[in-house]
Symmetry: C2
Subunit: 310 residues, 2 copies
């Protein structure tokens, strides 16, 4: 099924997806405003850089996954806010470090100068380091029962470390210029680099709710959904990198090709990459089959992540 | 009391401090060998850099504090190993990032080339990032009851973030060349930069044991002890930076003065700084007064941290 033919599967009586997503993104922004270190307190420059990295930016895909998955287990908004900020802090820190001269050396992100350009490299590195610690702190200071808090932190740590995001970043780094990377190697890299945190966002949303509703089979289904949308998101990213302008993306377009990075497009071509993103979307929706109306927002999120244009 | 007059206060029947510390340091090394990502697995270069940063290095002061504090609450060795590695990973990651060209630009650490010299800057940044995540993961995967696991992770997150180590690093960065820094500002910087993680090491050792033994008053006493030894450790560091050679220190000596960094020595002079380190040691010992023989190793640790020559 093409994206043009997607019929949004909202249940009768619920808010349309666009309005829901906009309201949730605004809620994340407000929560971040409140919970990030205040700009006027010492060390001011560090706090300013952390706020600059998180506030007023991005599509908030990871927080939206948290909120959507929270509906599966009837999670409270206050608990979801913390999980949403935690994954967004980790995502933001990874972008700050990834943009630095020793990594991608990028000067534009979300339409603004990157953190090391707007501040300096040392402050950017520390702001990233501090955001990772604050991600765990914000979970630790929540009001969920200790077993759930410990599970949330475990999920985030797994997704962030060497078996997840950092490991994937390392594979990405070592893959630059390697035109012989296989599709399997590319997939492993992306499953770790972006997929792990997207999957964790889904699981952490569900873990923030009523524990008895998160049965083993529900957790397994959400894991499969998270893996499929996580990979689909990256395939679409690769397509948009060649098809969109920097203005549309809010970041430097065409940089994968310029850097000699292997992508789904370089390995498969645009059409096959698009077809694969749609197969992954179908896999994601299939994983949710047993969850009924509680998973309505997650179904919409799959469409949102695959059919986006920026 | 001068360091020369220190009488080691070991209880009859226990192992002498030097033997205990050597055995515990060897235990940390062995645990790190086992629990760090294996060198032969993908991404190999990242794993190698993480192992290089942690293994075969340093005095293991933070792990020793964890083990010593664990004696206060009868903690099991297996639980203490995890807390010890978690604080050591955070310490190691902070050194890797601090040594990078955009921060201190140092090429020598623990007598070896720093990580970005032995590997490269991008790998060093990622290895630091991954070590922070692994620190939380190693706690999350322990076998303590969830309330204790959550408390350990909360303590580590607090000590690492903007109110602790990263915030102190930022203050340190902005203090370079500021000859007008007051003693109070210097103290705040060090309480955050190194003191917070040293204090957390003490609390995390105690938190790894039998929860009923960690009463509110014991916890408060350990916090005061941790703050005093944490600050004393830094004062001694400043003294050693001017009085020792690079070979003795295993890192570049005299670099504080060369970089125009305010230190206890530059603000107080060597003699007053030494006197102050001894007053802080006395405060640390006084805090332990009510804890009896359970705190014997912590008393020895105070001597070890203040009376060291490297």
């Amino acid at each position: 099924m093409s994206c043009a033919a997607v019929v949004t599967t909202t249940n009768a009586g619920t808010e349309p997806f666009d309005a829901w997503a906009a309201a949730r993104a605004a809620r994340v922004e407000e929560a971040a405003q409140q919970m990030l270190p205040v700009p006027g307190a010492v060390p001011e420059r560090l706090h300013q850089a952390m706020r600059y990295a998180v506030l007023d930016g991005g599509k908030r895909v990871r927080p939206l996954l948290v909120y959507a998955a929270g509906e599966v287990t009837g999670a409270e908004d206050e608990a979801l806010d913390r999980a949403a900020l935690a994954v967004e802090y980790v995502h933001a820190y990874s972008l700050v470090h990834d943009d630095m001269p020793c990594m991608d050396n990028d000067v534009l992100r979300r339409g603004k100068p990157t953190v090391h350009v707007a501040f300096d490299e040392a402050t950017a590195m520390l702001a990233g380091d501090a955001l990772q610690a604050e991600a765990f702190k914000i979970l630790a200071e929540g009001h969920l029962p200790a077993p759930q808090t410990a599970s949330l932190m475990r999920e985030l740590a797994h997704a962030s470390g060497t078996g997840g995001m950092c490991g994937g970043q390392a594979l990405d780094l070592f893959a630059v210029g390697n035109r012989n990377l296989s599709l399997a190697e590319l997939e492993r890299m992306h499953r770790m680099k972006t997929g792990a945190l997207l999957k964790a966002s889904v699981l952490m949303g569900a873990l923030s709710g009523q524990a008895p509703l998160l049965t083993e089979s529900t957790r397994e289904a959400l894991g499969r959904y998270g893996e499929a949308v996580g990979l689909a998101f990256q395939v679409v990213d690769d397509i948009l990198d060649v098809e969109s302008s920097s203005v549309e993306l809010g970041k430097t377009a065409g940089k994968d090709a310029a850097q000699g990075k292997p992508t789904y497009v370089s390995l498969l071509g645009v059409e096959a990459a698009r077809a694969w993103s749609l197969r992954l979307r179908a896999q994601a929706l299939e994983a949710l089959n047993g969850l009924g109306g509680r998973a309505a927002r997650l179904r919409e999120m799959a469409d949102f992540m695959v059919c986006r244009t920026h």
